[in-house]
Point group: C2
Chain length 200, copies 2
Amino acid sequence: MAKILTEDQKQEKRRKLIELATSILERDGESGLTARGLAREAGISRTTPYLYFKDKEAILDGIRLQILDRIITKFKQVDEKHPLTQMYKFGEIYTVFGLDHPELYRLVFTSNFSLRPMTPELQQALDNFHCLMMSPMRKAYDDGLLRIPAERLNLVLWSCTHGLLSFAHSGFFEKEDVLSQLRQDIGQILSQGFLNPIKD
Amino acid sequence: MAKILTEDQKQEKRRKLIELATSILERDGESGLTARGLAREAGISRTTPYLYFKDKEAILDGIRLQILDRIITKFKQVDEKHPLTQMYKFGEIYTVFGLDHPELYRLVFTSNFSLRPMTPELQQALDNFHCLMMSPMRKAYDDGLLRIPAERLNLVLWSCTHGLLSFAHSGFFEKEDVLSQLRQDIGQILSQGFLNPIKD
DNA sequence: TATTATTATTGACAATGTCAATTAACACCT
DNA sequence: AGGTGTTAATTGACATTGTCAATAATAATA
């Protein structure tokens, strides 16, 4: 019939567009990423991206998926047997990524899915991510190292880290010092608590 | 000369517009809040809001300031002498507000000021907020109840709470159960740590 | 080579932010 | 009271954006 693109070739075009979109997002921020601008920089006509993506939101979803993959890859490169150490390394990777790529991080982990809910595919990807991130804690708990089950600890640690990153991006505090100090405090407080032993 | 509006009257009009904008934001989400729609609902012409606000961003800043005031007011209504209890009550107010008003919370605490930095006025308002929120901790530390100075503890607690809220808004976990469980865990972990005592 | 399914482009439209030009309203002076 | 100039408000205008419909280009097969 015609210029038949295999599903793989289509996927490849999608991938390239997403890659370009990602770099634009990092360069110009979320408001600077437009479907038309993407097409312009890709050297195609204004509406061609809509051949490969239903929506602008679909483009954003594509970015989200690709970024999750990136982080997952880094997780899998960690070569470390001790579960607690592994857990800390995962946290380090996650945090460093968040600090190095504010716009990307925001898109993935700070979007609002209250109105239009998440797509099943993204939901799935996040579940996988979540699961992988939790695996060292699961092991640590099984080894009797933790007093809180993995799933619950993970949520707490994730919340803390996420809050830290979110504030970092908001520019509420500026200096790099404050940030590293904060990271240290979080670690200490989480492992030891903040209340002084009661003495009376 | 002419229909001279005193600065107070202008401020009053601004306030009313902001109030309307806030309700639209809560009803329709951030993408549903447009300058033109605001004018429409206010019964004025499309560009009149621009007489009172330089930018759309200035409108958003107005909302931010008004919301901070709201929370501050609630903080000041707390009547409680024990600093730790006061601290928990502040946390409760903050968290409940965040859960009840996702869109408003997001606008104030999850905006991206990396590119266009915060306005000095907003910066100031946030500093005040920050300072007030920290005051019970300061007292608690002076009373020897904490092992971490107020400023640093505040950042940690704030980060955790913020992360919790942010995830709640993202819809990463759905059930109310998970959320209350999480709040409980955060409290426990923060006060007691998560590591089991080492036994060998 | 002619056909036809598939890919890509252009045209079109409504919504939005925002500015310039115009009109309406009204306090003040004579 | 009526003209006047200043301020408030509206209308007009324009570029940008998301998105769809219509049209053109392309290339594999009959």
